[in-house]
Symmetry: D2
């Protein structure tokens, strides 16, 4: 039984971690920290977690974290980097669901996140926790940078094309759409029901922090530069990410359906749809699945890949637990096979 600590259990990502771990046969939540809710019961803030029993939030500096075998950071960007070195030294394995360890180049990170990095020396050994790409490294890692939600959906969409060198040098376009829970539980006017409901908009079109993250990973996979245009949009739904990725100059002789099917045939959490079947976010709501379809509209020159995940599961907490399973030698799917919730 892995003893687990969670830093920042009051946001949606933290709550989702707790939900996933509640059903996990091989892990037990030992400590959940919260700056604002310390001393209060978890089920008071999140009644859907009453199945977790009498668990209470503890203060963030709790020494209990060091006694855990695995600590998840579900805290804002710039939090984990201050606590991770001490935990790693104490032999704790760490999975950061925020962005502190996702960008390999500290200068790039500091440019995008507008702050100095507190432990750049750990960036080299931190592993980007996308099992479909880095599975073997994850097994041996002590520190995981859990991927962003958009990057997960976009990278899985084009991974087979880039690995096979099937994309040209032209622009790769990722038109991505997210449910509102991706914006977190902070109270802001744009995510009020009256503003975000019955509305669709784009945001951060000129520059979004997931752009350098996706670019870094795609270039690693392609082993060559990638010219990515990434446009995030906000959908009036709570959960789900939908990525529509456009690649041009893809070799017409390639059997893309077969390529995708084969690439992901052993992957427990990636489903490749056949023929003209298309993914929908609701089909993966509450589950750790990514569903993907490859199409060539009007038999034209552009290939369109459509991919869906639940931003809080495969895009955050579920993937984090998948990484934990790998790091601790458990079955990779342990605790993650629940059916989604439909309708």
């Amino acid at each position: 039984m892995i003893s687990v600590g969670i830093v920042g259990g009051t946001g949606y990502t933290g709550a989702e971690l707790l939900r996933v771990l509640a059903a996990h046969p091989g892990a037990r939540v030992q400590a959940v920290t919260s700056r604002t809710e310390a001393g209060k019961s978890l089920a008071g803030l999140y009644p859907h977690l009453s199945c977790l029993g009498e668990l209470e939030f503890v203060a963030p500096d709790s020494s209990e974290l060091k006694q855990c075998e695995c600590v998840f950071f579900a805290a804002p960007n710039g939090t984990a980097m201050h606590q991770v070195p001490e935990l790693i030294e104490a032999g704790v394995k760490v999975i950061d669901l925020a962005a502190d360890f996702r960008i390999k180049d500290a200068t790039v990170w500091e440019h995008w996140y507008k702050q100095e990095h507190a432990c750049p020396q750990l960036l080299a050994s931190a592993i980007y926790g996308l099992p479909e790409v880095h599975r073997e490294k994850i097994r041996k890692a002590r520190l995981i940078a859990n991927p962003g939600c958009y990057p997960t959906a976009v990278i899985l969409a084009v991974l087979p094309l880039l690995e096979q060198g099937l994309c040209g040098d032209g622009p790769l376009i990722a038109d991505a759409k997210s449910g509102v829970s991706g914006a977190g539980r902070g109270a802001r006017v744009p995510t009020l029901f009256s503003e975000a409901g019955e509305n669709f908009k784009a945001y951060n079109v000129r520059a979004h922090r997931h752009w350098p993250e996706i670019t870094q990973e795609l270039q690693g996979i392609r082993e060559a530069p990638v010219s990515l245009t990434f446009t995030p949009h906000l959908v009036p739904m709570v959960r789900g990410i939908f990525a529509t990725v456009y690649a041009s100059e893809v070799d017409r002789s390639a059997d893309l359906d077969a390529l995708y099917r084969q690439r992901y045939s052993e992957e427990p959490f990636v489903e490749v749809l056949q023929g003209d079947a298309l993914p929908e976010t609701k089909h993966v709501r509450g589950s750790n699945s990514c569903r993907i379809s490859v199409q060539r509209p009007n038999d034209g020159e552009v290939v369109v890949v459509l991919s869906v995940i639940d931003n809080l599961v495969k895009g955050a907490a579920g993937q984090a637990v998948q990484n934990m399973n790998l790091m601790f030698g458990l079955d990779e799917t342990s605790g993650l096979m629940q059916a989604g919730l439909f309708p």
Copy 2:
């Protein structure tokens, strides 16, 4: 391992049964029938159930049903009554999620359901499957009439008051609100997204089929007549029932908080909220819980009880599995302890 059959697996109730049973350690789905989808794969229609593997729909007259130990009917009203006698005779235990066996008086049933009852002789032995009221009878039953969604929420709201004789003879008012999935998966204009979205309305105000069902059960509990007014409303959300029940002339000396807490202290799926905490449908979405709060507004003469369930779980499929657990001597909570999905 109980072998289970499901009649009518294409509606939302059937799909939800499959979702709940997929996580059940002591039951295995053997056969799922569908008039329209026979021969097709379940995961094709319901991709969120791909965890169930290669299961296919079979035709409704399938002899496989008789080889099951437990058959659920998730079919329209008036379906089960034609097949149940044969199954019962073959030793199969039956749980009907529709209304065929809920009303004890065949004449009343025929009035409300506008058709002749096909097996009135079974009505006497059919047990109304609300475990909080009829647990011991359910354990021994061969045929369960699984309660309607509204009745479940309303009866649990007032059960302690009626058992203790705390209500006067004045009218009991149940103002109930349901998510749109309660209307089923049939394609009709009023439940289109463009009609039901951003809208709130009442329906069937003059007469709704759940009125005689609730009245019958409340009178049985009170052992005296009950004058019920029941108003159903449609909420622009997918899942959830919220019942606001008003009782007047309730003895002011009674400690209602304590009464409710005590009455439900041993119930695994009823949570009584304390003080001014109030239930929300989203707190039980996807779970088998019923959450209840008792209030006396402005310290006045009217007591208000607020109760929430997920109409597809505690209001249908979850409760049906709870009944199955009781009928087969399993732990009552088996397969039903998953946390709900929030947000």
Copy 3:
């Protein structure tokens, strides 16, 4: 052309006033104040109002207000009472859309609004701006207390019953449901899309500030005490109020359909539905209408009245303009006959 000032133009009520006035042939918005947005363009904050041209917010202490003929307060409770005496003295007619002048008894007001009243001397002459009840007084008023959204829906629902003395002394129950815009534009966690979406809940069940307001008015109409139970709920939609009001002991010999039809036959903004037709909030979205249906379920002892309004129009800005029309001798419907937006 009436010159109009608006105090607090950045909230939803202020924005809706601007929308309604933009289509008004006899009024022109002269000044819109905002503490936070002074100097900024209106269309920048509210692009849907770009038809209003180059209007800019001005600071709240603007002397321009005194030069207006009519000033609307769309500011938080406790704002208007500090500015109204000076405006009244300057000959400006005032319509307060907040609660400062709704409660006749200053002590009661102070109890519910938790602050001292700044000008109790004006309470006696302030008119409760529900034209269907106080039309003649409104015509002559200098100060209007514009009714709350819930009170408008509830009072119109039972007005004919109370006027005719058809209700007994038993409890009157108003189960009311509101869209999320009723909570305003302030950023708070409970009204975030991810919290309020796909959710239904009650709030302020023990005590809500609209309870003394409704009670005061109903007692004035009945000329006798009224025992009201009022339960507000939050609906996952942006606009709309639905009130389900239950009255018992209503004389069975009364022809309620005829009574309601007759009472409201001359009212331009109240529509009485016939037979079993029921109102829906979406049918009045964006319009100043109130739609009402009277029903006696199962021909029982309880009468149910269902009433719908748009909380921002007939429940706030539209009714305020209706009052302005009356105060300035214009056609009561001027600027208010736009069709609603459906779907």
Copy 4:
């Protein structure tokens, strides 16, 4: 006063035409036909249109249509082409909101719409009713092919680029998202609230009928071939279209902000946003506006144009009335300046 007839008044487009025309000072609805609702009152089906008074639906073959000066077809594809020749001959001006006259090449039309064209001889003289492109021809037209909703949003997004020859020969990508009302009022499972709510999906990715329509118009504007990839998606909201259009190889020396501002400076219904301001569908809900923003993300090689309309207004009924205004020499904005509905 133009006398207007509407064929097919029961769908959302027909209802929206009625709403827009109700506020039009220079037109009066004379006849509204409906196959299914003939003889019934309009306000019965659409209570929000009760302001239109006692209007009733008439049968589709009504001779009243010929006595109108302008007839709108808001009927399914393939309806207008059977009635238009007779009306044109009778001197009636016709605006078809369906697709019968949008495609110039009858063979292409028959391929995409799977039926024989009933009056190919009228295709040459039918004018594509996008005033921003074909204003002068519209003024003189007898028959207008009112543009599809997606084409309106996409064409307006790239019109300035194509007119100035700023796009290269590379693929133009239009990732478009629509509210559910675009699917019409027909009862089908995929547009049920429980299916489309809390869901995001793409549809008709391989081929959509708006693709040849957009391609035809863009090629006409560019006077050269255009390689378009068009992907439609369904958003869980009722109204609104959002088009995100990607163009590569756009000359870096061009000042796109200035170009767009200038191109649309005289257009009453196109607003070009400045700087990093981005459009949102809710800002145009219920209005005839199109709001557009041009961006170059990360200062890269791809230009992104974002454009929003209300699919039922500028994407259908509003644009149709704009065309009518032009055809009859009225002020182009007549009846179309209502503010949208926000929130």
